[in-house]
């Protein structure tokens, strides 16, 4: 099953374009994600954040541009192939296997990569521990609370031992305590597992506290890049969020 070993190197998106029936959802976006860093992808609704993830993971085809991991071009491969090359993601709307237990959900991701039953079970148990989900180990995922479901989804993505992990609004629907607990877990991930983490979220305080670097999209284009402070004071960003003339 693992004919492709994971490729080493940074994830690089070059001039990616995506069109939906002639409408440009992404218009030449470039992005670089290094193993071990946390990149925040922000922007107003409809700016192309989720589309960027969909394009990298192969769920929507690129109209132009390339996606590479190190020297290996991954754009054009099937979502399954890309997943096996070490790219994992979570979804804005949680997509769990609702009639399977929490443990089985996490296990499935490890099994799909070719792990044995024993190893997959051990990995899943360890992840449930990391995410404080042990008490839901044998509960069907459909019965979990919203916050728990989101954590299961992240644990499941990690069970595949990805080199790059994309989280689409991981804290949506969580209360403050849950968000803080998640933040602690996420902050430690890149160093612990040597993975590159890309996060989309509307919660600016979460993004600002978590990310090493931010990239701002608007109407399918990159309008700013840099540290939290650089982005916060950028005129284009203020304009994109608040509309032009906001400071008049």
């Amino acid at each position: 099953m693992l004919d492709d070993a994971k490729v080493r190197g940074a994830l690089m998106v070059r001039d990616a374009s995506v069109e939906f029936a002639g409408l440009k959802a992404l218009d030449g976006v470039s992005l670089r994600l290094e193993p071990g860093e946390i990149l925040g992808l922000i922007g107003p609704n409809g700016s192309g954040k989720t589309t960027t993830i969909n394009a990298i993971t192969g769920q929507v085809p690129l109209a132009g541009g390339t996606v590479r991991i190190g020297e290996r071009i991954i754009s054009g491969l099937s979502p399954r192939k890309i997943a096996l090359l070490g790219v994992a993601r979570s979804f804005q709307i949680v997509r769990l296997f609702n009639n399977m237990t929490t443990l089985e959900n996490v296990e499935t991701a490890a099994l799909a990569r070719g792990d044995s039953r024993r190893i997959a079970r051990a990995k899943a148990e360890a992840l449930l521990h990391d995410f404080s989900l042990e008490r839901h180990r044998d509960d069907l995922c459909g019965t979990l609370s919203y916050g728990d479901k989101r954590r299961v989804e992240i644990a499941r993505a990690l069970a595949a031992e990805p080199s790059f992990l994309f989280l689409d609004e991981p804290a949506a629907g969580m209360n403050v305590a849950e968000t803080d607990a998640l933040l602690d877990i996420l902050r430690a991930l890149p160093a612990e597992r040597g993975l590159g983490l890309l996060i989309i979220d509307h919660d600016m305080s979460l993004i600002m506290r978590l990310c090493d670097r931010l990239q701002v999209l608007s109407s399918g284009r990159t309008i700013a890049e840099g540290s939290a402070d650089e982005v916060r004071t950028n005129r284009d960003v203020i304009e994109a969020y608040l509309g032009s003339g906001a400071d008049d």
């Binding site: 997509r95 296997f97 609702n98 009639n99 399977m100 089985e104 296990e107 099994l111 459909g142």
Partner: protein, 296 residues
């Protein structure tokens, strides 16, 4: 008391056969959200294989094994011929290709074997009886119950404890997500068809064991039974299919015992009326299964 034992054995043996039939159908449906209308022909293939190897000196169990293997091969062929080439394109296309494959197999049997029923070899034990609670009970009923228990047990083990089973359940809940995690879709689908063929093959032998002959249209009734059992139990749930099979058998057997000779001709009308009532009460079937029922 005697009557009760007799009744229970009847329900269990008929229900076991119905449950296995329904399971084979719903297994493929669960993953692809498509009904395999060529499912009945897998039973036909098992029957004709048994007929064709009937003249050989092989022991009966070997012949039966060959018949089951041929049903599995036919199941895999259904995937490759009727489903895989058009699967991604449209539901309607698959509906038609699976009907076409069913017709093709039936007509091949008409043309190359015979339109008339052909006998199949059956071991002595199928026509023997044992006394249970003072009533003569056909051995084939006992064999059916044992076979159903063994197969349902093996099936439950496969789905709960093996990598293939977990992957199949994941694929049945959310096919797209399973693929995204790296579950090999084609392998999972082919496995589902092969297991579906295995169940059809065993049921085929038990079913034909009741009649003693095989004819080209023999698959129609099992297909209908399986379909109705799935609808009663809930199309999205494996347990539902098994439950539906036993409920349908319970209804059929009860009617067999209670209807007068004149009314017995119309048994199916009574059965279907009850099925309609069940569906009015629970339109999605008795067991709901995973929340997302759309094709993914």
């Amino acid at each position: 008391m005697d009557f009760a034992i007799q009744f229970i054995i009847n329900v269990l043996s008929l229900g076991g056969a119905y449950a296995l039939m329904a399971l084979g159908l719903v297994l493929v449906y669960g993953i692809l959200k498509l009904v395999n209308f060529a499912y009945g022909e897998l039973i036909m293939v098992a029957g004709y294989t048994l007929h064709l190897v009937g003249g050989s000196p092989l022991p009966w169990l070997v012949m039966a094994a060959v018949a089951v293997v041929m049903a599995m091969v036919a199941g895999l062929a259904t995937d490759y011929v009727a489903f895989r080439p058009v699967r991604a394109k449209s539901v309607t296309a698959v509906l038609i290709t699976s009907f076409a494959f069913s017709t093709l197999l039936q007509n091949a049997a008409l043309l190359f074997i015979s339109p008339r029923p052909r006998s199949v070899p059956l071991p002595e034990i199928f026509s023997q009886s044992v006394m249970i609670g003072g009533m003569p009970t056909p051995m084939r009923d006992i064999i059916t119950i044992v076979a159903a228990v063994v197969l349902l047990g093996l099936f439950a083990f496969l789905m709960q404890k093996t990598v293939l089973g977990i992957a199949m359940r994941a694929a049945a809940t959310n096919f797209t997500m399973a693929r995204m995690l790296g579950v090999p879709a084609n392998l999972i689908i082919s496995s589902a068809f092969a297991i579906s063929g295995l169940l059809a093959g065993v049921v085929g032998i038990l079913w034909i064991g009741r009649i003693g002959t095989v004819a080209p249209a023999i698959g129609l009734e099992p297909l209908l039974i399986a379909f109705i059992a799935c609808v009663i139990g809930g199309m999205r749930s494996l347990q539902g299919a098994v439950l539906g099979g036993f409920i349908l058998a319970f209804i059929d057997t009860t009617l067999n015992y209670t209807l007068s000779q004149d009314l017995l001709k119309f048994r199916d009308a009574f059965t279907f009326s009850l099925v309609i009532l069940i569906l009015l009460w629970r339109p999605e079937g008795l067991m709901k299964g995973p929340a997302s029922g759309q094709r993914t």
